[in-house]
Amino acid sequence: MQLTRRHLLGSALTLSAMELFPGISHAQARKLVFATFTGSWEEAHRDVLVPAFKKASGQDMLLDAMLSVDQIAKVSAARTNPPIDVMLHDPGPALVAIGQDLVEPFPVAASKNYKDLIPEAQDPMGPSMFFQVVGITYNPETVKTPPTSWADLWKPEYKGRVGITNLNSTLGTGFLVEVARMHGGNEGNVEEGFKAIEKLKPNLAAVAANPGALAALFQQGQVDISPGNFNAIQILKTRGVPVEFVAPKEGAIAFKTSIHIVKNSPNKALAAQLIDVALSPEVQGKLMRSPYLVVPTNGKVRMEGEIAKVLAKDTAEMKKKFVFQDWKKINEHRSAWIDRFNREIKL
């Protein structure tokens, strides 16, 4: 081969490209990537789950924080070589991911902790690593008598003080279904829910674009009472914002947050190991305590602290107090509901 300037330049470029983008030449050698949620979830998983996984497997891993829907978009855009190995989903997106054939079943037989999960959390297509709980959030400085029921949001004394989110989020959709249930509807029929939200309009100060924006409104004193996520409230509290969480007497809405192995992941064995670590009583016990306050799914974890005080003392009480919704049914109608919300709920 004759060495010319062009040849040298070409091979130099190729070499440096391989250095810069090792993914091109060593696709199988990347670290395990876990797509977690943004905000406090990411913090909690970085502090507890990542070290626990390192201890169990001797391997490093990466956290990539994004919303469930973005995880699905990323994985379905690169099905054969997904950039993520493990996904985290609310129930709605979880069914979408399973429906689009983006996830592998979790090897249940090889798992140490799967059998200890409470039955609601067991699902071979993606066991649940924690529950999210939606109740009523209020500002104790302005709302003197703590609310006890969803119906309190309609009280005339909260005129212009109530916040909700639109249906883009699990929070907003779950709230609509619960309101429909209060008035005799269900997951398939939310007619009464829309009517009730129409009646809520005089009380509404804001329809936030997402749960994060709703939390910011409490900080600004823009709203005093709203449906809210238990964990989101804890973060506000630690920052000194006057907020309290109460589980309404109709039952707090609970949804499973499931963890899935991505189909075609090059790190399947490690992915299964990470999930097993996430389900273990040690990790869940740590995540349950302050400051993370994540509701555990493992029946062996004894409830304590703030969670025992506000939510439930044990899994039996938890099952009594929580309301689980049928997201399979909800997903069938969700796009029609979002369309309708877009049209009807204008302030």
Binding site: V69, A209, A216, K346
Partner: protein, 288 residues
């Protein structure tokens, strides 16, 4: 001069070769995704199984998308008009200020461009909130008894958007005003024209290119300002960027999201073409 002096390829030949990396970049990261978007918009169902015009028929007939589009463009017009008034005043005072003052003013004008849009938008959430600066000032002065609702209103959104986009309006206007020959205004008033007449007949037409450039930038930036629109406007005001996000991400309905994106793109390009046509007209006007 004789022809023997000319050696090597002409200079214009070089410039085309130098442009090729940029051209490749555009093809790879702009043209290819755009073509992909067009293809996706012609799928009939969200599972991308069959082709059809279904998405475009839905846009034309659902009676919802087109009003959202019109409302988004109208929001752009309102913001642009407010920006124009504020930006012209700002540019005017900049040009008339002494040198040292100009340096300070320029820093103030450019500063917002150096701050993240998210930070600026959250600042507006603080300003417009129930316990925000505006409300607490009005209450302290006794002008209002209870806090006004400013956040999550269209007025609040327009003001916040105008603040965020103001540099895009002010900078082209400053350039246009600086190029203006002060003798022209002096001549106009020497010939007996009032200040207003001088402004309308001399200053305004001569700065029209700057006005058009500023309007174009502000308009394009404000209709696509996803963050400001959703944080200040809230979840109950729906504009095209949020609508596209909702369809693409929350509902995973890519074909419909692609179709409304393209309709939005075409509507914006039509507006740009209109601005350009106005620009050509103004050049004719100045040449007269």
């Amino acid at each position: 001069m004789n022809t023997a002096v000319v050696k090597g390829p002409p200079a214009t030949g070089y410039s085309l070769a130098f442009a090729s990396p940029l051209a490749a970049f555009f093809v790879l990261f702009f043209l290819a995704p755009l073509l992909l978007l067009i293809v996706i918009s012609f799928y009939a169902t969200p599972d991308l199984k069959s082709f059809g015009l279904d998405q475009y028929i839905k846009i034309a007939t659902d009676g919802f998308t087109l009003p959202v589009l019109a409302d988004t463009l109208w929001l752009g017009v309102q913001t642009t008009l407010l920006c124009l008034v504020l930006g012209y005043a700002l540019a005017w005072s900049y040009v008339r200020s002494p040198r040292t003052m100009q340096k300070v003013l320029m820093l103030i004008i450019v500063m917002p461009l150096l701050t993240s849009v998210v930070v600026r938008t959250f600042a507006w959430v603080v300003i417009l909130g129930r316990q925000g600066i505006v409300n607490s000032m009005l209450m302290e002065m006794g002008w209002i008894s209870g806090p006004l609702k400013l956040l999550y209103t269209r007025g609040g959104l327009i003001v916040a958007l105008a603040n965020v986009q103001l540099p895009l309006m002010a900078l082209p206007l400053i350039t246009a005003l600086q190029k203006l020959d002060p003798n022209l205004e002096d001549a106009s008033s020497a010939l007996g024209a009032s200040a207003l007449r001088t402004f309308v007949r001399i200053t305004l037409p001569l700065t029209l290119p700057g006005i058009l450039a500023g309007c174009l930038l502000t308009f394009a930036a404000s209709i696509t300002a996803f963050i400001s629109q959703s944080l200040i406007g809230g979840g109950q005001m729906l504009f095209m960027p949020m609508y596209i996000y909702q369809q693409a991400s929350s509902l995973q309905n890519w074909p419909f999201a692609a179709a409304i994106s393209l309709v939005f793109l075409i509507a914006v390009m039509a507006c740009v073409a209109l601005f350009n046509a106005l620009g050509r007209l103004s050049r004719g006007h100045i040449a007269d």
